[in-house]
């Protein structure tokens, strides 16, 4: 294409002239419109006195009543012509900022990815670890930032190089959760309806009431150790992290209870009040133990003892009302498990849409999705009486060698194909709330621009980013899998590869191949 012609040369020259002019343009602003910042070498942070017009909502953090900006944020704001950083009573140039800010806590790649995403408009925050477990998100507890975390100081202040430390910090926080959930698990296995105390728990007698509630609720919910854990975590945090004198070797032993205690489900209120009083505890007030002994109050259990336990087969799960997902072959319905779960509108809509337009429904059009359990029982009866049953072909199912497909489970082509799968395709690694933090943590949590964004409680990010250089090898499959299991949410993980100034994003995500159904 280059033909050495004069006109081409002229065009290129013109291009360069314009480019030089554009690149040389200065960053000018009124003195009063600049935010004044101070750089300190020791803390490697920029301190500001007054927030600017708009950036404080998404950037920066407060520590001890003072406002700070991370170096990459400060550098970005300088390039945006919003912030003027002073050091030694002299204003810093951008080159000077590059020289001073880049270092062990901030690599060039980190800054380039940060600036790239910010220029696109995203809200980018240094990774803060696992903020809420899956259950907390489901019941909506993630909206309430754990008070202790706020008091402890922003997790955002963990610097890059001290990633190890931040992992330790997180591990500490999670470790507490883990050790408690471990105990919860054990106890669950031992006694279904018995409430056994967590031995070695360094919980004061004062906290016994809230713990009892937590215990009882936890067994009620039958299998959701996370809930108890989040409450216990808070109480643990309060009691352990606050002051050493809270560590008491009182073992709270709770005797097994005949009837299950069904407490009113104002647990968030109850625990909040418990914790507010416990936080007062830190400054030395006495916590008044509750006047009621919940072990001796008998509340009826509507769910477990009404004798109307329905066992739903997987094939019949299409008829169930609303949010019941039958993943197991045999599902012992426990109504308690579904109370207080936050309704995920998007997922519900998606599910309803799928049901509406899926082929499955052609079979059940006459039965229709039931709206409640009484309707379901009617549908189930109709369905069972009209369909193939195992006892109609006893000779086939008599020996050890049985057909792969069972007639009653042959509801759709997809179901049959699934039955025919001898080698099960691997699914995502099992979700595990007790997972250890992975060896490599993401560097950024990225959020879409949102008016309701709150720095103190940002919620689940829209995606997370790991920054790496071109010559480094990407995180291996095990690390990616660990990250997925650890965070236990559907947030995609992006890998930002930086090479000599150019940033490229790659998504790393798990997905399962869909079953191809060409007939039926």
């Amino acid at each position: 294409m280059p033909d050495g012609s004069w006109i081409q040369g002229k065009q290129i020259e013109k291009f360069h002239e314009e480019r030089e002019k554009v690149l040389a343009e200065p960053r000018v602003q009124k003195k009063c419109d600049y935010v004044h910042g101070l750089w300190t070498n020791e803390s490697r942070l920029v301190e500001i006195e007054h927030e600017g017009k708009s950036f404080w909502k998404n950037m920066g953090f407060t520590r001890n009543g003072r406002k700070f900006l991370h170096p990459e944020e400060a550098l970005f704001l300088m390039e945006m012509n919003v912030l003027q950083v002073w050091y030694n009573f002299l204003p810093m140039s951008i080159e000077g900022a590059y020289c001073r800010f880049l270092g062990p806590t901030l690599t060039l790649e980190f800054h380039q990815v940060y600036a790239h995403l910010r220029r696109m408009g995203y809200v980018v925050i240094r990774h803060r670890g696992k903020l809420a477990s899956r259950y907390e998100r489901e019941i909506g507890l993630d909206k309430y930032q754990k008070k202790k975390e706020r008091q402890l100081g922003d997790p955002m202040t963990s610097s890059l190089l001290t990633k190890k430390n931040s992992i330790e910090e997180l591990a500490q926080m999670e470790g507490l959760e883990n050790c408690v959930t471990d105990k919860m698990c054990e106890h669950e296995k031992v006694a279904g309806e018995e409430i056994v105390a967590s031995e070695n728990s360094q919980i004061k007698m004062d906290c016994a009431a809230s713990i009892e509630k937590a215990h009882s609720q936890e067994t009620e919910i039958g299998g959701n150790e996370e809930m108890g854990s989040s409450l216990i975590l808070q109480s643990h945090m309060n009691s352990i992290k606050d002051s050493a004198e809270c560590l008491n070797d009182n073992v709270t032993s709770l005797s097994p209870v005949d009837d299950n205690i069904l407490t009113t489900f104002k647990h968030s209120d109850a625990t909040n009040s418990a914790f507010s009083s416990e936080s007062r505890n830190a400054s030395g007030f006495q916590y008044k133990s509750s006047a009621w002994d919940f072990r001796k109050i008998a509340f009826p259990n509507f769910g477990a003892e009404c004798g109307d336990v329905i066992k739903i087969q997987r094939s019949e799960s299409n008829l169930t009302p609303g949010h019941v997902v039958c993943e197991l072959d045999c599902y012992d319905f426990n109504r308690m498990a579904h109370i207080n779960k936050k309704k995920d509108k998007k997922k519900d809509l998606e599910r309803d849409r799928k049901l509406k337009f899926s082929n499955n429904n052609s079979r059940f059009s006459s039965y229709q999705n039931s709206r409640n359990w009484s309707e379901y029982k009617v549908c189930l009866y109709n369905w069972r009486s009209n369909n193939w049953r195992q006892d109609q072909f006893p000779h086939l199912f008599a020996d050890g060698l049985q057909p792969l497909v069972r007639p009653e489970l042959a509801t759709s082509t997809e179901a049959i194909l699934q039955q025919l799968q001898v080698i099960k395709s691997s699914t995502k690694p099992p979700r595990n709330s007790k997972a250890d933090p992975p060896a490599v943590l993401p560097h950024f949590d990225v959020y879409s621009p949102n008016k309701k964004f709150k720095k103190t409680n940002p919620g689940t990010p829209d995606f997370r980013v790991i920054v790496m250089r071109c010559d480094e090898s990407p995180p291996d499959l095990k690390t990616i899998s660990d990250i997925d299991v650890y965070f236990d949410d559907d947030v995609p993980l992006h890998c930002a590869v930086v090479d000599a100034g150019t940033v490229m994003f790659n998504t790393l995500s798990f997905f399962t191949l869909p079953t191809e159904v060409s007939l039926g």
């Binding site: 294409m1 280059p2 081409q8 065009q11 290129i12 020259e13 291009f15 360069h16 480019r19 030089e20 002019k21 554009v22 690149l23 040389a24 343009e25 200065p26 960053r27 000018v28 602003q29 009124k30 003195k31 009063c32 600049y34 970005f76 300088m78 390039e79 945006m80 012509n81 003027q84 030694n88 009573f89 002299l90 204003p91 140039s93 951008i94 080159e95 000077g96 590059y98 020289c99 880049l102 270092g103 690599t107 060039l108 380039q112 600036a115 790239h116 220029r119 696109m120 408009g121 071109c470 590869v497 090479d499 000599a500 100034g501 150019t502 490229m504």
Partner: protein
């Protein structure tokens, strides 16, 4: 109106580009030098800062210009640049005073320019101002007339005498003074110190540099190849006007390439309409290039 300051490196007057080494990476902070590198020396580099006039986008970025280590080595070998590191001078009271004086001077100058500009504007708009004042006065007279006062018609026709000086100009507050965030370091407070540049070191780096140098000598424009999965991208002319023709992949001469790798590279090249050039240095220390083309025999 605002006289901005661009610190032009003194070394550039000697004919050498200044490359600043910051945290292991090389940058150029001057637009004139960046243009010279690209226009005259065919060194492209990558812009990695925000553009002052359009900061919230990623398609067109601004200074600093980040250079590949190969580019820096080439410039040093040709004696066209020097690599420096900024060392901080100890800040004395003198320097602080000097800065304050500079600021005051800038403020005074700005006030001057501002007043002058306003005066020119008033001069230009003087007839309109007078007309406006007349209309206002006539309106007032009209009101008075309506209220019953008897006013002569000649009052309406009276001319208003006004000069430029009569129109008041608000003072420029110090807080509204324009300030600049300079791009490059102030040479009065930082001293650049020459540093030793030790690239290339490992075999891989040596090979990369050999290939880069050879292709550059042949007249190509080379940029980083990570966008296309290679080592370099070679353009026949300025990247702004021409598409690249080659994806250069450096391989040691004796390295084995698996079939899968060949297919990957071949396919990649075909999909982006570029030729994969496998480059290596043979036993006689000569560079040899092999181009890869994916053909189908069907």
């Amino acid at each position: 109106m605002f006289e901005c300051v661009t610190y032009n490196r003194m070394s550039f007057d000697r004919g050498k580009t200044t490359i600043t080494l910051i945290n292991g990476q090389c940058f150029v902070w001057n637009s004139k030098q960046a243009r010279f590198l690209r226009e005259e020396l065919r060194i492209v580099g990558t812009l990695c800062g925000s553009l002052p006039r359009a900061p919230m986008q990623n398609t067109h970025l601004g200074l600093p210009l980040q250079l590949m280590p190969e580019e820096v080595t080439l410039l040093l070998e040709k004696g066209l640049a020097e690599v420096v590191e900024n060392t901080e001078d100890v800040i004395t009271e003198e320097m602080k005073l000097e800065y304050k004086n500079k600021e005051k001077k800038s403020y005074k100058r700005q006030v001057e320019l501002y007043t002058r500009e306003r005066q020119e504007e008033i001069k230009r708009k003087l007839p309109q101002i007078i007309a406006g004042k007349k209309a206002k006065r006539n309106k007032v007279l009209d009101e008075r007339r309506k209220n019953g006062e008897i006013i002569d018609d000649s009052e309406f026709e009276k001319e208003i005498e006004m000069t430029v000086e009569d129109v008041g100009i608000p003072t420029l507050q110090e807080a509204s003074m324009l300030m600049e965030i300079p791009l490059a370091c102030d040479p009065s407070t930082t001293t650049p110190v020459l540093v030793k540049w030790t690239y290339p070191k490992s075999d891989k780096e040596v090979l990369r540099y050999r290939v880069f140098r050879d292709l550059w000598d042949k007249g190509h424009y080379l940029t980083s190849g990570s966008k296309f999965g290679g080592d370099f991208i070679a353009y026949p002319g300025d990247p702004s006007r021409f598409h690249s023709l080659f994806i250069v992949v450096c391989k040691p001469h004796s390295a084995s390439i698996s079939g899968i790798e060949l297919i990957t590279m071949g396919r990649l090249g075909t999909n982006v309409k570029k030729t994969i050039v496998l480059s290596s240095v043979d036993e006689n220390d000569k560079l040899c290039y092999t181009s890869l083309q994916w053909t189908g025999i069907s």
